[in-house]
């Protein structure tokens, strides 16, 4: 009995979840055959600007095999920063650790995976702590195991062994949700958690250009934190932080390198507006573009062979200069059936976290080119097979979530002593908006190209919402706010029905 008591005391559900995640990630990313993500040509910008270079024969691995080793440049890095991304901080930290423990000339990407695993363990620890604090242990352990199943899924964690920004997005969103829920639960230092929220949001926004629009959501959510704390210092931190979040979104957008902008612009037309158009030449005419460009329909920017260079003068002059994302948005607004079709195309890829064309194994594993793993990926398979793949699902999902959490919000609104209890619904709303925005931005910004990666924000926010939903259902907090039972004893709370009747009077 004493042993069980001791175990329960030491092994809290949050610790169990963190250790479980750590073990699964280590098995996935460190034990042979190690899994990762093959390069689709995007690594170049991040790797070279952080002082790494490709070792010989790298080219033959594109798309098919993941590469774990890179050279560390000793000389002055003349590549400079090609893109503005917070991911560089993690890479530089990993290179620093790699230099210390492994080599000054060869970088093993598993050092980066190690950094991400530690971050993920911390994030999941905080998230599970937020949802299982003061909850019956048995439920806590069930949730811990569920957290391992959801957040340790290799479809997400194998990004850690790559230079894609998705890995940083993944851990950032978990920190955002965890810190927000901990504030809501009044656990740990509120100032610390607020800073954690703001910093995680900053990392998420600046990890990738397509996240720039969600800066508005995260900044507004940040302002919500003003409602429960009156201290000057706190308010100063929140205001400044939210302002920085907003500005970082704007900066991230305007600092998109020309080439990135060009790639997105190209595919927004060829894989977007033109793709499902009934009359592609008429579509081009709407944009005042020569109808010969209908030949580019369905082409990607990375097409191996094409008539003209995607960066050629003729395209610059007669194609790119004719439209931008605003025009594309207006086009979709006036062609709603086409927009609907594109959104449904995106919805089909909501849960396809693993890009179909990218392999997960190293060449030395002697597996076929482009072979993908199914290791520890039950949750991903479940979502991909069972979840609806129509855009309409997002509305039903939003209605259900908002409907379930609205009563507790109204309750909290009437209970003015604990303003922080108002925070749960805005989080749900914020995550739903991010899901919505991720889908729209992916389609308008880049057509249906590379959807698995462009929609990455959707499944990770969905996972958080799903986990919160399961947790609250299990622990009975779906319609009631946490911590109210204890509070009820101290303060006589008006119940919801009573409140409504008062309003009626």
């Amino acid at each position: 009995m004493t042993a069980i008591f001791k175990f329960k005391k030491i092994m809290t559900p949050s610790l169990l979840a963190a250790i479980g995640i750590g073990m699964v990630c280590v098995l996935t990313l460190f034990v042979e055959p190690i899994k990762g993500m093959a390069d689709n040509g995007d690594f170049f910008r991040v790797a070279y600007s952080n002082g790494l270079y490709y070792l010989p024969h790298y080219d033959s691995n594109y798309f098919g095999y993941f590469v774990s080793q890179y050279g560390i440049s000793k000389d002055f890095n003349e590549n400079g920063s090609m893109i503005f991304t917070s991911q560089s901080l993690i890479i530089r930290l990993a290179i620093f650790i790699n230099r210390w423990f492994y080599s000054h000339t060869i970088f093993d990407i598993r050092f980066q995976a190690g950094v991400y695993i530690l971050l993920l363990m911390t994030g999941v620890y905080l998230l599970v702590e937020a949802l299982t604090y003061k909850v019956r242990r048995i439920y806590g352990y069930i949730l811990a195991l569920l957290a391992v199943l959801i957040f340790g899924d290799s479809a997400y964690t194998e990004y850690f062994n790559s230079f894609y920004a998705e890995s940083l997005m993944y851990v950032s969103i978990i920190f955002i949700v965890a810190s927000w829920l901990l504030i809501y639960r009044n656990r740990y230092s509120q100032v610390f958690l607020t800073i954690l929220y703001l910093v995680s949001s900053l990392f998420l926004i600046t990890s990738k250009q397509q996240n720039a629009p969600i800066a508005v959501i995260l900044a507004l959510m940040g302002l919500m934190l003003l409602i429960f704390e009156k201290k000057h210092f706190f308010r100063y931190v929140v205001l400044t932080g939210s302002f920085i979040l907003f500005c970082s979104g704007a900066a991230e957008f305007f600092l998109i390198p020309d080439q990135f902008a060009e790639i997105n612009q190209f595919q927004a037309m060829t894989r977007g507006a033109l793709l499902n158009a009934d009359h592609s030449e008429q579509t081009l005419a709407d944009f005042n573009i020569n109808k010969q460009y209908a030949l580019l329909r369905s082409n990607t920017y990375y097409q191996e062979y094409s008539s003209v260079g995607v960066h050629s003068q003729i395209l610059q002059k007669n194609f790119y200069s004719k439209y931008g994302f605003i025009k594309i948005s207006f086009y979709y607004a006036s062609h709603l059936h086409q927009f609907d079709e594109m959104l449904n195309t995106a919805a089909r890829d909501w849960f396809k976290v693993r890009p179909a064309e990218l392999g997960n194994y190293e060449r030395r594993a002697n597996l076929p080119f482009g072979k993908r793993t199914a290791y520890f990926s039950l949750y991903h398979a479940f979502c991909d097979i069972l979840m609806p793949h129509r855009f309409g699902f997002i509305f039903i999902w939003a209605a259900v979530m908002l409907g379930l959490y609205l009563p507790s919000f109204i309750h909290a609104f009437r209970f003015k002593e604990e303003r922080r209890l108002l925070l749960r619904l805005p989080l749900i709303l914020g995550l739903l908006l991010m899901e919505f925005m991720a889908t729209i931005v992916a389609i308008v910004g880049d057509g249906d190209a590379d959807l698995a990666k462009h929609l990455f924000l959707f499944p990770i926010t969905f996972n958080c919402l799903f986990f919160i939903l399961i947790s609250d259902s299990l622990t009975g907090h779906l319609f009631h706010n946490h911590d109210l039972r204890q509070t009820d004893e101290k303060v006589q709370l008006p119940n919801v029905a009573q409140s409504h009747s008062e309003v009626g009077q």
Binding site: A219, F246, A250, F254, L295, L296, S306, L315, G324
Partner: protein
């Protein structure tokens, strides 16, 4: 009877015996020309010289093998009996020794371009090299009256030698010097330096033709329109084709292939345009597609794409007589296999900055005709070049990028320049050739061109449907960036307003309390 039987057996044995060359292990490379250079990288200081020389050798119908001097071994050297050494970088003594010793032992034909020459070789040519101070003088091809005033940097020139001297350099303050020499048996040659842009390029060309025993050949000149894409201005092209046709100027057309949407109306219009060009004295060559990046997902992709495109053209009675690609395509096994081998003729274009190798090879492909290219404007600007072309032993494609002819005045200026020059252009359709390209047999007997035995109609006169007149873009939306800046600014202002109102509201609340 017995004697007869013995004789018959002897003849049979002799005939079945391997030839001495075969017995000596004659390599498949024997007969190729080996070009050894000190720096083979595309960014090398004189990489253009290497391209230029390899193009000339290939244009003479020879197979070229390119090796860096650091890759050279005695064994490799044994496979070649004609070697060109381009001293365009740095090589250590050991590497040079392998080269020179090998040539000495094999008695290979040898031509060195630039750099110092060992004593043994100098003696064989009776060569005396002398330092020449930097000076301005007249450099000329010895027998053809082609000359140019050049400014030479400090270098070593030929003062005397046994053999035919070429590249006579005269200047007021010194004796006559030469830049090139070929010994009497034409097996050994030396050129003091190269510069593919000056008259020295003509000297290299002349010397190479002699060294390869191809000087009797007479090259042809082809006017070549490049950068014709499905997105080109078809009205301008139609006008240009009509103008050239009316002036009786034949020309080659390098048209870019289409790799997707081949059944679209846009493709039909493009095919109609190419058909029209073909009917207006144009000969179609297919340009190499633009290569964005190399993946090895499908190693037959290029072949498939080209095959579909060529089939589509031939269905429209368009007969491509050749292909056009950058120099490095000739040294890539995949490009050779998937595209070059399907054509009889090739126009070599200069390498661009990024070379997209797929499967690099040191040896080139031998084709029916390999035609190096040069910018038409470059030729028109120099009178010596025009004169030299009259005597050139290799054919040359003089290229003009149609994208550069942006406006009517520039088009007119080009036409004027063309008529003023003394160049007379040849008609490639008069070349007799027959080849199979992606399952289609194309034949030209000098007068008519046929596809799979069916002569094509080359006298089509109707113009392809002109493209819709482009209206000026309405500026209602303005630049997307400006619009976004505006949206962001509005949100920012709302944001600040929200904070101010919130703060005031909060303060007022306290005041009331």
């Amino acid at each position: 009877m017995k004697i007869r039987l013995i004789l018959l057996t002897a003849i049979l044995v002799i005939s079945l015996c391997p030839s001495p060359a075969f017995a000596a292990g004659k390599s498949a490379d024997q007969g190729n020309v080996l070009i050894v250079s000190e720096d083979r990288s595309s960014g090398a200081l004189r990489s253009k010289d290497l391209q230029f020389i390899s193009n000339l050798v290939m244009a003479h119908g020879e197979k070229v093998t390119l090796l860096g001097i650091d890759q050279l071994t005695r064994q490799k050297l044994k496979n070649f009996d004609r070697i060109i050494y381009l001293a365009n970088g740095y090589a250590d003594r050991r590497q040079k020794r392998i080269l020179y010793d090998g040539i000495e032992q094999q008695r290979s034909a040898f031509l060195q371009i630039g750099g110092p020459l060992p004593k043994a070789f100098r003696q064989r040519m009776g060569l005396r090299l002398e330092d020449q101070q930097a000076s301005i003088g007249r450099l000329e091809l010895t027998h053809k009256g082609v000359a140019q005033m050049v400014s030479l940097k400090r270098c070593r020139l030929i003062a005397a030698g046994n053999g035919s001297l070429t590249g006579r350099f005269t200047h007021p303050d010194g004796p006559i010097r030469y830049t090139g020499i070929l010994n009497k048996g034409q097996r050994l040659g030396y050129l003091s330096e190269t510069d593919s842009r000056s008259i020295q390029s003509a000297i290299v060309s002349e010397l190479l033709a002699k060294w390869l025993n191809k000087e009797a050949q007479q090259g042809k000149i082809y006017l070549t329109l490049t950068n014709i894409t499905p997105f080109s201005d078809f009205r301008k092209l139609t006008r240009l084709a009509d103008e050239l046709h009316d002036q009786g100027i034949p020309y080659l057309v390098i048209a870019q292939p289409v790799t997707s949407n081949l059944n679209s109306a846009a493709m039909k219009r493009y095919a109609a345009m190419l058909n029209y060009l073909q009917s207006r004295n144009g000969t179609l060559f297919i340009g190499a597609p633009f290569v964005y990046g190399v993946t090895h997902e499908d190693d037959q992709l290029l072949e498939k794409l080209m095959s579909v495109f060529v089939r589509r053209l031939t269905q429209q009675q368009i007969a491509p007589l050749g292909f056009a690609a950058e120099n490095y395509w000739l040294f890539d096994k995949d490009y050779q296999r998937e595209s070059l081998k399907a054509f009889h003729s090739l126009i070599i274009l200069p390498n661009q900055e990024n070379l997209m190798w797929r499967n690099r090879s040191s040896s080139s492909l031998v084709m029916g005709a390999i035609i190096p290219s040069m910018s038409l404007q470059q030729v028109i600007r120099s009178s010596w070049k025009q004169k030299e072309l009259e005597h050139s032993s290799v054919s040359l494609a003089l290229t003009i990028n149609v994208d550069k002819l942006l406006s009517r005045p520039s088009e007119k200026a080009f036409e004027k320049l063309l008529y003023q020059s003394n160049l007379s252009f040849d008609d490639y359709r008069q070349t007799v050739l027959r080849f199979r390209t992606y399952g289609q047999i194309i034949r030209s007997d000098g007068w008519t061109i046929s596809i799979n035995g069916q002569p094509i109609n080359q006298t089509r006169t109707e113009q392809p449907s002109p493209l819709r007149e482009q209206k000026k873009e309405k500026k209602s939306l303005g630049s997307p960036h400006k619009m976004l800046i505006l949206i962001f600014s509005i949100i920012l202002m709302l944001f600040i307003l929200f904070i101010i109102i919130g703060r005031t509201y909060y303060k007022n609340k306290y005041k009331r309390e």
